[in-house]
């Protein structure tokens, strides 16, 4: 009888502790990845010597940094995000539109948003050209936009 209740107690402790799925370890909503290339030699990565990035009417994410790529979040409550990219004194505006789909991941991670039918327009001050590598943003393995300058 005593041994049995000890067994029950051990089982109780063992099972109440096995909550390994309580920490979110999966990848969640992806950020937009932009890489900068040389406009004269489109296969060569070219850093922007002093880059400042901010979303419309928000604080800057990067301030006067030398970067060859940036990862920036998209607005999860609206179907478009406007980003301002400043190189030295010139400012260009990226207008990103998309459809949002929320995809179930797991108990601890909940849902992530993936972006489909992505379209981008840009002003051309310091940015010479850009290409959108995919119309779907669902992971962070590759750059989604290449900017030539």
């Amino acid at each position: 009888m005593k041994k049995f209740s000890i067994l029950l107690f051990i089982l109780l402790i063992a099972f109440s502790n096995c909550e390994s799925d309580d920490i979110c370890l999966d990848s969640t909503t992806p950020y937009l990845i932009i890489r900068f290339y040389d406009a004269d030699d489109p296969d060569t990565i070219k850093s922007v010597s002093s880059l400042t990035v901010w979303a419309n009417e928000k604080d800057s994410i990067y301030t006067s940094e030398a970067l060859d790529s940036i990862t920036i979040p998209l607005n999860l409550n609206e179907n478009s995000t406007i980003y301002k990219l400043q190189s030295d004194t010139e400012i260009d505006q990226l207008n990103i539109t998309y459809d949002r789909t929320n995809v179930y991941i797991s108990r601890s991670c909940g849902y992530k948003t993936i972006f489909e039918n992505v379209a981008v327009t840009s002003t051309y001050n310091w940015i010479k050209d850009f290409t959108l590598t995919s119309t779907t943003i669902e992971n962070e393995t590759n750059a989604h936009i290449n900017i030539y300058h």
């Binding site: 096995c18 969640t28 409550n77 929320n102 991941i105 108990r107 909940g110 992530k112």
Partner: protein
């Protein structure tokens, strides 16, 4: 003197007779249907308003140490995780056998049992709300309240049961048991998952579950058999 000896002998024989009678009674074992209810569920409902439910238990002794056992229940439970809140409601049935491993002294009817169950649940999940998970705080996602109801979901699983039953008053039993569960199949909702199943409780990542049951049951005596 003679009279007093007679009286004493009579008394002894009466006592002896009475003893004899109880001895034969002790050898009789009651077979019958035992019905009860899980008393932990209404207590849990009272403490935690997110958890409502009841469970009826029953078992039928069909041999010296074997009992056909069943549990029948209903649950309506709200689960809150870090990024999601959902409601599960549905019924379940569990059928199986218990084996009593406890050797009672004559006249006692207690049990330490082990058993197995096949269980089936039929339920619905309602995704009450969620916040899309995004790292960083530059853009914060609003809470989305879809209240989507996923109906006609089901699950089958197996349980290993261990527990005890104690006859506290004549034919009234207090029981406690632990159930370790393993899912066999589930019908999952689209773009969501059965994270809680009535009768199974929380579904752990490896399809395992655990449950406890504290019951009061009454034995309806049907036949008394001599051992």
């Amino acid at each position: 003197m003679r009279i007093s000896i007679f009286i004493i002998s009579l008394f002894v024989s009466i006592v002896g007779f009475a003893q004899q009678k109880t001895d034969t009674l002790k050898l009789k074992q009651t077979y019958g249907l035992r019905v009860g209810a899980d008393i932990s569920k209404p207590i849990t409902s009272f403490i935690d308003s997110d958890k409502k439910g009841f469970e009826i238990t029953g078992d039928l002794r069909f041999s010296k140490n074997h009992y056909a056992a069943a549990e029948l229940g209903y649950e309506d439970v709200i689960t809150t995780e870090d990024f999601i809140t959902f409601t599960t409601s549905g019924s379940y049935i569990k059928l199986g056998v218990n084996y009593n491993a406890y050797r009672n002294w004559a006249g006692m009817n207690n049990e330490i049992f082990f058993g197995g169950r096949y269980a089936f649940s039929f339920f619905s999940q309602t995704l009450n709300n969620y916040t899309p998970n995004s790292y960083g705080t530059y853009f914060e996602a609003d809470l989305i309240e879809p209240n989507t109801e996923y109906k006609d979901l089901s699950a089958h699983w197996l349980e290993f049961v261990a527990g005890m039953k104690v006859e506290t008053f004549k034919n009234i039993y207090f029981g406690a048991q632990i159930n370790i569960k393993k899912l066999i199949t589930t019908k999952e909702p689209d773009n969501f998952e059965n994270l809680y199943i009535p009768g199974f409780n929380k579904v752990f990542s490896n399809d395992l579950g655990i449950g406890f049951n504290y019951s009061i049951s009454y034995l309806i005596p049907i036949i008394k058999k001599t051992k």
